[in-house]
Amino acid sequence: MERKIYLDNAATTYVSSEVLNEMLPCYNILYGNPSSLHSFGREAEAIVDRARDRIASAINAKSSNEIYFTSGGTEADNWAIKGIAHAYESKGKHIVVSAIEHHAILDSCAELEKEGYEVSYVPVNPDGLVNIAELIHAIRRDTTLVSVMAVNNEVGTIQNIKTIGKLCHDFNVIFHTDAVQAIGALKLDVQDMEIDVMSISGHKIYGPKGIGALYVRNGIKIDSIISGGSQERNKRGGTLNVPSIAGLGKAVESANKNLSENQQKYRILRKYFLSKLAENVEHYQLNGHAHQRVQNILNISFYGIEGESILMLLDLKGIAVSTGSACTSKSLLPSHVLKAMGIADEVAQGSIRFSFGKNTSKADIDIAVAELAKIVTKLRSISPLQAGRF
């Protein structure tokens, strides 16, 4: 096959060599259990402490002990939603989330609903921004928690996190944000943005998979969801995954450097992609906010054709993308994010997410768009829908 092109960096990234170098000795040289009292344990503990410090400093946490390691973004989200809802049950059983959250949030909410909690799902505007008026309207006397993701993983829209954080505190409600897609794309300052709880993941920022962290501001109560040990200040049982924690620490630290340079690079690639696309393809739309967005995610709906077909034909050419729609997963429904943005089903079904990474070049984009143009023409020739009539 010809050269492979990976345009699915929002799904996951490779592990960078600087991260890998931090991780490798933790497997066979510094392999102690950080909970052990002897020198092996203390060595491992020092590695974990360093990672905690790096993350705390990257997000401007007041103290390193506000960082708790988890098995990934999904566990962090589950823990934040369920752990806080349960800890504050005596205050109320109502939480507020946006309609475009990741399923780690939405499914956790569904579980709480089964337990008798009430959840309000705040609608978003057509550009994917959470409607602030609706958010204010949703907060009640018995609301304990608001959760709004910092950057949406499907369309790349950046939420007004600082505004929402401030607003939550005006209403005396805890604010959680899922920052899995935001880390490495924008500066996150938990004190300035008034974030109480924040989910982080390793594998979107050139770190390893299966590791994440939850920032919990000191003073916020959170119930454990994983019992079985005194690790993480009695809040999260389980032997710490030292190699991955070392990797996460390095990945977060690196991601936080050169933030604006990276976004500038992606801005140029994005512009280039769009100009090439405009030259070669007709009848499509861009989904997500025009400028309040991360630059490495492009979500595009191609009229009259279906996303999975586009994805599979691109894959046959060695080009990896993902569907904005959930068709490739078990659900056959169109993406809940695009639906919440008011995008018609047949348009949502035809959406593709292209996400750039460190290695993406203009040459990659030339090839990808050329193949894409052929594929779109081919699929339109066998579609009963007319692209020009959307």
Partner: protein
């Protein structure tokens, strides 16, 4: 995810496109469920045998492959015979399909049935038109007399 048969059918469908001179079209599905299938039939008016069939499909790989198979299965068969084609036969031609894509075979079966229905509906409409025309001509003749 998909086997070779499905991928081959999806990549190079034999029966894709519209059909000039089609005298029946079966369309099923909706974009909210993710698939729209349109099957074109050219049916011999005397023998009621499907002489040619083509399709146009908006949908995933499985749906495109299923309609391509459906076209193969109906060709050379009478309308009575093609009404007996079921989703399992379509699935058999394709071999293993992911579980969440089995609905595509069901939709393709429905597309065939919709095509047959369309043929008879057109016939009925044509017959009605002919009857109306005959009646008009009769009354005109009576007036002239």
């Amino acid at each position: 995810m998909y086997n070779k048969t499905v991928m081959d059918r999806f990549q190079s469908p034999k029966n894709a496109g519209s059909l000039r001179g089609a005298n029946a079209i079966g369309q099923v599905g909706s974009s909210s469920c993710g698939d729209i299938m349109k099957m074109y039939f050219k049916i011999n008016e005397e023998t009621l045998v499907v002489e040619e069939s083509k399709f146009k499909t908006f949908g995933c790989c499985a749906s495109i492959a299923c309609t391509d198979v459906a076209c193969d299965l109906v060709k050379g068969k009478s309308l009575e015979e093609i009404l007996k084609i079921n989703s399992k036969q379509i699935a058999e031609v394709l071999g293993d399909l992911p579980e969440n894509k089995v609905h595509s075979t069901v939709l393709a079966e429905e597309a065939i049935k919709a095509g047959v229905e369309d043929y008879f509906k057109r016939k009925e409409r044509a017959a009605k038109r002919a009857a109306m025309l005959a009646e008009e001509m009769n009354s005109e003749q009576e007036e002239q007399e």
